[in-house]
Amino acid sequence: MIYPKNIIYKDVVKKFEGKREKVTALKGVSFEINQGELFCLLGPSGCGKTTLLRISAGLESLTSGQIFYGEKDITSIPPFRRNIGMVFQSFALYPHMNIFENVAYGLRVRKKPEDFIKKKVTEIMELVGLPDVLRRNPSPTALSGGQQQRIAIARALVYDPEILFLDEPLASLDAKLRRYMRAEIRRIQKATNITTIYVTHDQEEAMAIGDRLAIMNTGLVEQIGSSDKIYHQPENMFVANFIGKMNFFPATILEIQGNHCKVKLEYNQKMMDLFFETNQIRTRKINQGEKVILGSRPESLTINKNDGKNLLTGRIQIIQNLGKIVRYEVSLLQDAKSKLIEVDMEKKLAGVKEGDEVCINFRKKSTLLFPGKKVL
């Protein structure tokens, strides 16, 4: 039986001393992971997510700060005394042992009796969906990538660890298998209810699998929350831009009336009315006359044929038909140097082709507001 533990990070700092320079991989990270939660660490490469995972497992020491499993301060406890499990990106199956011995390894370390080991291994192999593999019991190299993945998970779970660590576990699988396995991992995690930390750089994977996510950047946690919250209410421009696509427009707030705002776009000094959800104006402490950045997801923008009266005019550069949606990449006429604006439409606009002029409109309710003057 697994008794899930929560994990608490308190001011975790990690500095690496390189040959020439010191690199601060983690710049003071504090948060809590709940019992039985599947928690994703997500961020671009070099953001410190793998370092944080390895520190959590005890594979790296921390420069300062504390980590708790439940009520235990495990900061200075070596990993082999922690009762944890880990699945590595390369799976790290032992090539010189057969499948049974690979899975049984942690139990042998714990000097469990032979019939107990047999029972546990059989159980766990059923849980990961490979009950038949034990009959042939081949060397791990004879298995497919997906099967190796399941064996690695079985090996990490068989001795009932308190916490499970997954370090980019799907990175070495092909795209189709990846989507299938991530559902499997979630099923197994929910079945055992073990507190799990899952590191990935793939935002779609993290959104799909995690109960909650931490978005990391340059050694700091930018935002923690559910997939839904992070997608629809990103706390800053980094998160907004990292999760999905976000179009940014510098603007000035002219007038605030409740959730209604009158804003002036920098591009062409034109004005428009916007309605901001969830009291963004109040929580971000934005005042009248202040310069801000407006953020809009591709699906929150629309385009139609240029009739000359509209707010933003642009020229279509590329049209991509992605099946469910049609994506238009549009360059602004007023500012040729700006990034291309992405607009997702449900249907292809009749009679509009690449090179045509169109106008872009905001859907009233779903625009986001970020303090600051410069687009990230």
Binding site: N6, F68, P79, Q89, G106, R155
Partner: protein, 571 residues
């Protein structure tokens, strides 16, 4: 976060660190300090003090080095060493690189055989090669006899092989395999897509060779060149057999120690010869590192081999010629071992007596050789493996320094190692000169790099996650090492150990200063038998030695596949 405040104190037992790795891993460090760093230090100190004087600051003198300016024998030795080493590097590059290219890039039969025979000269003891050339090209040598019959018609004659020419000739043939194997590997492993893309962009064959192929294999050629240079500088056997009045630095060191028991003078010569090697190494690093490239693409394909008939004929003829010349020593030795003497065109007096008397005259030296090689290679395996593990896995602050220290004997001529060990351990509180122990230590010091490199290579290839995963599963460091790391690096350990054993069996340049009547080895006996002029018996003993070494290497190749013979690039 309120949880943090009511923490339970953790028992000491659980936070206790695991100190076993530190204890076990200090073994190789202690060994290196006591038997390598310390003796080298003493030896360097002695070089600045006159013979018989105490090692204190008041006795400081440069007199031992002054001989390089005053004695013509010293000057000539220095010059000889230079000339020989550079010429040998040049010859091996000119002869070996084309051979590597042919075998790698031209379609021809018997490639495996050529590669297998190609390494024979390295696994044959160098001094055995030298004395076989005496049989062929010496004063009464058979080839010289035949050639002179022809040359005599026009009033010319081929000089005997003794002297500089003979040393250069024999050394070039001995060290040819380094260049051959390394350039073969380089020609085979550069990405063919690079050459193909040049071809598609319109470059001709000679342009591709000049602008793509050669620049890419230059680092390998540089590595081969420095390897040959280091060995040519340190080789004792060949100049000792063929040098006559021509001394080189290693034979000069031997002369100083053997003739005068002047370790101080010998140390000075050793310093000079090591300094030359280090300067060469630095120059090579400078030249090569500026031209070292990393392959960017991961996609590779197989080379299309040259199939033009003329190219094939040239390649086959060239390789056969080189092989015949470089295998002549082995053939000569085997033939000689069945005859009493070989003066004039044909050997005379067929006999099995040379072999029959081996048990009588050589049972002690054979036993010594096997005992020394076995115990030294097992101990070397232990030290080398632990040292490789430290630098690869623990990565302590001084990892670079450990790496450097272990690799030092690699550039030290064997005779320099013996001078250092004698300087530290032949007088004073610890006197082990003339014992088996000093031989075993010298062997270990010299061969640790072999095991170290071999195991370090296995460790680099071993995914560290395997060990981390074991630790995470709850296994201690020792359990992990025993159940995961050790079984997986075992092939590397075995390869390094067999290589060590095979080379130790034929070790001469370290042993020559350290052996005593009690600890005489087989190579020493062969060397002395050659000196006595008893070529038949020397040949029979050499055949015994070569066959044993060959079987070892063959077994290793079976055990490890192709990678076995390529590890000879190291040694």
């Amino acid at each position: 976060m309120s949880v943090i405040k009511n923490l339970k104190r953790f028992t000491i037992e659980q936070t206790k660190k695991d100190y076993t790795p530190y204890l076990i891993l200090s073994i190789p460090l202690l060994f290196l300090i006591i038997f390598l760093v310390w003796p080298l230090g003493i030896s360097i100190g002695k070089a600045f003090v006159l013979k018989g004087k105490e090692l204190i600051w008041d006795n400081f003198t440069l007199a031992n080095f002054q001989r390089f300016f005053t004695s013509s024998m010293y000057q000539k030795s220095l010059r000889n060493s230079f000339v020989i080493s550079f010429t040998v590097v040049l010859f091996t590059l000119i002869i070996g690189a084309p051979m590597g290219y042919f075998v790698a890039r031209v379609e021809m039969p018997f490639k495996k055989l050529i590669l297998a025979l190609g390494i024979l000269p390295i696994i044959t003891p160098a001094f055995v090669g030298a004395f076989s050339w005496v049989i062929l090209l010496g004063r009464q040598g058979v080839v010289r006899y035949a050639v002179n019959k022809v040359l005599g018609l026009v009033g010319l004659s081929l000089p005997p092989i003794y002297g500089l020419f003979g040393i250069i000739f024999t050394m070039s043939l001995t060290y040819l395999p380094f260049v051959f194997l390394l350039s073969y590997g380089a020609f085979k492993s550069t990405n063919p897509l690079l050459e193909e893309s040049a071809m598609i962009m319109g470059a001709g064959h000679s342009r591709i060779l000049r602008t793509i192929t050669i620049p890419l294999i230059l680092p390998s050629l540089g590595a081969a060149a420095i390897l040959v240079f280091i060995r040519a500088m340190g080789n004792f056997g060949i100049p000792a057999v063929l040098g006559g009045q021509q001394y080189v630095l290693p034979t000069l060191i031997h002369f100083r120690v053997h003739g005068f028991w002047d370790l101080n003078g010998a140390s000075a010569i050793a310093i000079i010869s090591v300094a030359i090697v280090i300067i060469a190494l630095v120059i090579q690093k400078k030249v090569v590192s500026a031209r070292e490239y990393e392959t960017i693409s991961t996609a590779t394909s197989e080379y299309k081999l040259h199939k033009h008939l003329l190219t094939k004929v040239i390649a086959i003829l060239y390789c056969s010629l080189v092989l015949i010349i470089s295998l002549a020593p082995q053939i000569t030795i085997i033939t000689m071992s069945f005859f009493k003497q070989w003066i004039g065109f044909l050997p005379s007096g067929f006999t099995l007596e040379n072999y029959r008397i081996i048990p009588q005259i050589a049972s002690k030296t054979i036993k010594n050789s096997f005992f020394l090689a076995t115990s030294a290679s097992l101990l070397t395996a232990l030290i080398g493996t632990l040292a490789a593990y430290i630098t690869e896995r623990r990565r302590p602050k001084g990892a670079m320094l450990i790496d450097f220290t272990i690799m030092t004997p690699f550039v030290l001529p064997g005779i320099v190692v013996s001078v250092a060990l004698l300087s530290a351990f032949s007088s004073g509180p610890i006197n082990i000169s003339g014992t088996f122990l000093i031989l075993i230590i010298s062997f270990m010091v010299r061969r640790t790099p072999y095991v170290f490199r071999s195991v370090a290579a296995s460790l680099t290839q071993l995914d560290e996650a395997l060990e981390e995963s074991s630790i995470i599963s709850g296994a201690s460091w020792f359990y992990t090492f025993r159940r995961v790391t050790f079984p997986l690096i075992l092939p590397g350990i075995i390869a390094g150990t067999i290589l060590t054993f095979a080379t130790l069996l034929q070790e001469l340049s370290t042993t020559i200063l350290l052996y005593s009547a009690r600890t005489q080895t087989l190579p020493i006996q062969i060397y002395n038998t050659v000196a006595e002029g008893n070529f038949g018996i020397a040949s029979a003993l050499s055949v015994l030695l070569i066959v044993t070494v060959f079987i070892m290497v063959y077994l290793m190749n079976i055990f490890l596949g192709d990678s076995g013979s390529s590890s000879f690039k190291l040694g």
